[in-house]
């Protein structure tokens, strides 16, 4: 599986090359890639449905248990099929939709990378790997939302989505690390076999909190939902793909995946039901008020995501099955509707439902497709949506949780779903044609074929549910529950309570649709919805953060170099000095001044030259004294067994003097700018720092040192490093990576010098 993911990433980065041959190639090739992946995953269906799982692992960082481990079971296969299947349709659609954009190759690079990341996410068996792919989907989503980056609103929306989902992801990371510490493994499949471990740990609440935040931000649950409607700035294929069918379901996937590991507790159940229900109701109420087709669809997506979270929270096998069916049905009809909204937008020039009327005659195929998708969203028999709605109602009532509030809320929001579906489909297509900004024609082939097939799929799956869906739903619920379930899905259960409720929902929904304006008026005047605006608090938070940063920076960044140094040195004196004197009694500092005359003279020369440099009245004296200090240090290296250092120091000191001399006669005259009292203050700070360092060295050198590293290097230098000069072996072999970094820095310094001087030259010439 690692090959498949690598291949997808690789193909993403190769797309710009094809763009050079033909501007249409990237779209076509990425469609083929998605289709190929779909076939690949479909070919594993028999294996997975017969109850097996496919596991693969390639070592990456085995020492800390991070590996490229992949795990294909029912749940991940379902997602992989959705990602690649809907992906194929979206890519095909986009290959036409994005044709005229200037940077279409870039678009397909992002979109294909997203697909690869999303596949990696659902296939990961390793929590760290899962986190990495989760972040990759956030990053690619950021790039795609901000695709029209010349628009202010696009940039704002992209950043908002990145901050919200990225923050959630980082918090999730803390939870993942905690699980790794508690369980000693990051492997999901290992965790699955030891389910009680995390749940019974005292940190369970905290871990659950991080996972919920990660999932809720990603899946746009209240109060983090606001980024999703903003994300509609993205080109429509992106909205259909990322922000409806796949990426926003990553949170749901995470919850489903972790259900056996973190689920089953009251805390889990209640928090999922609470947030899921609030999201479900709140979002669908907001959706009705919108006029932008995409915004309506976005809010209704948020609502469905809430429903899915709630169903996972209820957690009975009926609820999980309802979740899976709703997820499939929603992915299919919502992707279709999004693509249709894109078609309407590109054919008519507007997405405002108040401006669209009677498109049915101009766009018959699109109309038929839209009707099919709408019927599935309505939950009309024999569409897949019908089974979804039936099982949803059934599981909510059957669970008996929060009776009668939960069933009532589900009923109300279902009514609103009908209204929303009607607004999206009936309103623009029915009635007499109203003139639009552009002359309306039917969509081109590549833009209608995909949605049409998808919408038919909703019908086919509905009719054939018993045969086509039973085994996959059982397989998926087996991976969510971690046991084998054996249940037959049926389209028709007879005239029972759920059926009558379904019918009632559709009827009430249609009536509501007819008189929705009354509702909108009431809501817009009275509802608390206007006060509950997380996006408002998000803006407040971001601007507050900026203000804080400005205040803090202007406080610390005064523009005076010496202030910075004084702050650093005072901190050093206070913290290091305090720690040192508190822990080491002065009586333990017994410096040993035994030394030969040469050594005394050498030390004296350095101290005196240093003093000369500080006191020198002319630059030349300072430079010469500086040179004396350097050469004396080289002699110290000679005396204490470091010939390599001595050689280097001599060479560098020579170069350094030459360098100073080159610049010397352009240097300004040596001047004393500062006041004597200030010099006194500076001397006190510098002197105390120097004194503390001296005392520390006194103390440290009086302790015997047994260096294992020294022993290791001396013993392995010849046998492994093939060299007798241990220092050089360390530099070019044992610690060569360090050296590589250092010489890179050197190279950059040289280029920096060069460019600075060239800049001066060019300015002079102008």
């Amino acid at each position: 599986m690692i090959e498949v993911i690598l291949l997808s990433f690789l193909s993403a980065f190769l797309l710009p090359l094809f763009f050079r041959f033909n501007k249409k190639l990237p779209g076509i090739i990425s469609t083929l890639v998605a289709f190929f992946l779909f076939i690949y995953f479909a070919s594993t269906l028999p294996t997975i449905l017969s109850g097996n799982v496919i596991k693969e692992s390639t070592p990456w960082f085995p020492a800390v248990g991070i590996n490229f481990s992949f795990y294909l079971d029912g749940l991940s296969l379902l997602f992989a099929l959705l990602i690649t299947g809907i992906g194929t349709v979206v890519f095909l659609y986009a290959s036409k939709y994005m044709e005229d954009y200037k940077y279409s190759a870039r678009f397909f690079v992002y979109l294909t990378s997203f697909m690869a990341s999303m596949l990696g996410l659902v296939l990961s068996d390793n929590l760290i790997l899962l986190f990495i792919f989760l972040e990759l989907t956030s990053v690619t989503s950021f790039l795609l939302i901000g695709f029209k980056h010349e628009k202010e609103s696009s940039r704002y929306a992209a950043l908002q989505a990145l901050i919200v989902t990225g923050t959630g992801g980082l918090i999730l990371f803390a939870g993942i690390i905690a699980i790794g510490i508690i369980a000693g493994t990051f492997n999901i499949s290992d965790l699955l076999s030891n389910q009680q471990l995390i749940v019974q740990h005292s940190a369970y609440g905290l871990i659950l909190f991080t996972f919920l935040l990660g999932a809720f931000t990603k899946s746009a649950q209240f109060p983090f939902h606001f980024w999703l409607p903003s994300a509609m700035e993205a080109p429509t294929p992106v909205s259909a793909y990322l922000h409806s069918a796949t990426m926003v379901k990553a949170g749901v996937f995470l919850l489903a995946r972790m259900n056996p590991i973190l689920g089953g507790t009251e805390l889990w159940q209640n928090s999922l039901i609470l947030f899921g229900t609030i999201t479900m109701l709140f979002a669908i109420l907001t959706a009705v008020k919108q006029t932008d087709l995409k915004k309506i669809l976005a809010y209704s997506t948020v609502s469905i995501l809430g429903t899915l979270v709630m169903l996972i929270g209820i957690g009975t096998d009926f609820a999980i099955r309802a979740m899976i069916i709703t997820l499939i049905a929603h992915a299919i009809y919502k992707a279709t509707l999004f693509l249709i909204s894109g078609t309407i937008d590109s054919q008519t020039g507007t997405r405002d439902v108040t401006k669209l009327r009677g498109l049915k005659d101009k766009m018959p195929i699109t109309f038929a497709t839209a009707i099919l998708a709408m019927l599935s969203m309505f939950g009309i028999i024999p569409f897949l949506g019908f089974i979804g709605k039936e099982t949803l109602l059934d599981s909510v009532i059957r669970s008996g949780l929060y009776f009668p509030f939960l069933p009532i809320i589900v009923f109300v929001s279902s009514v609103f779903v009908i209204a929303v579906a009607s607004i999206v489909v009936l309103r623009p297509f029915l009635f007499a044609f109203k003139k639009t900004p552009r002359d309306v024609t039917e969509a081109p082939f590549r833009m209608w074929i995909g949605p049409a097939l998808l919408s038919l799929l909703g019908l086919v799956f509905g009719i054939s549910a018993t045969y086509s869906l039973t085994s996959i739903v059982n397989s998926v619920s087996a991976s969510i529950f971690n046991f084998n379930s054996d249940y037959t899905i049926k389209l028709w259960y007879g005239f029972n309570l759920n059926f009558f409720l379904s019918v009632l929902i559709v009827l009430v929904g249609l009536v509501f649709y007819r008189y929705r304006n009354i509702f909108i008026k009431i809501v817009s005047h009275s509802a608390i919805i206007n006060y509950v605006k997380p996006s408002f608090w998000y803006d407040k938070f971001i601007s507050g953060l900026n203000k804080l940063a400005t205040t803090q920076t202007s406080l610390l960044q005064t523009g005076f170099l010496r202030h910075y140094i004084i702050i650093i040195m005072l901190a050093f004196i206070v913290f290091v000095g305090y720690t040192f004197f508190r822990n080491i009694p002065l009586s333990e500092i017994n410096p040993n001044f035994n030394s030969t005359t040469y050594e005394k003279i050498l030390a004296g020369v350095i101290v005196i030259s240093a003093f000369f440099v500080v006191k020198a009245k002319s630059r030349l004296y300072a430079i010469i004294s500086m040179g004396v200090v350097g050469y004396s240090i080289a002699i110290i290296f000679v005396l204490y067994g470091a010939p390599d250092l001595a050689l280097t120091q001599f060479a560098i000191e020579t170069l350094s003097v030459i360098l100073f001399v080159f610049v010397l006669y352009k240097l300004p005259k040596y001047q004393n700018f500062s006041h004597p009292t200030r010099r006194m203050r500076d001397f006190l700070i510098a002197g105390s720092s120097g004194l503390i360092i001296t005392l520390i060295v006194f103390y440290v050198t009086s302790i015997q040192l047994q260096s294992e590293v020294k022993k290791f290097f001396s013993e392995t230098s010849l046998p492994i490093g093939m060299g007798r000069n241990v220092v050089n072996v360390i530099i070019v072999d044992f610690r060569a990576l360090d050296t590589l970094g250092e010489i890179t820095v050197l190279g950059i310094a040289a280029i920096g010098v060069f460019s600075m001087l060239k800049l001066i030259l060019r300015e002079e010439k102008n």
Partner: protein, 138 residues
């Protein structure tokens, strides 16, 4: 500032210094020396030439742009590090030839790494000094 003594000494000393730097480089793995010191000494040799004859002459002597030496040095160190990956081993793993090569002695990827360092150091020092010297000229 032309000086006969300086220029005639330089003519002899520069090749000697270059030879010495090469000597430091190849014996660096077993005796004091190595790419860093060798590179510094080689740079000093060119520097001496620069002081005696000026920046144009030394550029003619060197023939290559110092920036090229920097890039070459980095490339050599990188290539020497990549050997490990080619042979399914760790990055930067050292490989040595079985037989000794005349003059150079034992040859392996760490030695290649040292050669890269040697070129880079020459390039860096010369680039800095050349930039300064050229600016003075303008």
């Amino acid at each position: 500032m032309y000086s006969i003594i300086l220029s005639s000494t330089t003519r002899i000393v520069t090749p000697l210094l270059l030879l010495f730097s090469f000597f430091l480089l190849i014996r660096g793995h077993n005796e004091p020396g190595g790419g860093f010191v060798g590179g510094l000494v080689a740079a000093t040799a060119f520097l001496l030439y620069l002081i005696a004859f000026g920046v144009l002459r030394v550029k003619r002597l060197l023939r290559i742009e110092p920036l090229f030496l920097i890039a070459l040095g980095l490339l050599i160190t990188l290539v020497s590090s990549l050997f490990g990956l080619f042979f399914q081993e760790e990055f930067m793993k050292g490989f040595w030839l079985k037989e000794e090569i005349p003059i150079l002695g034992k040859f392996g990827t760490p030695f290649l790494f040292d050669i890269g360092v040697y070129f880079l150091v020459i390039g860096v020092i010369l680039k800095i000094i050349f930039s300064l010297a050229e600016e003075d000229k303008d």
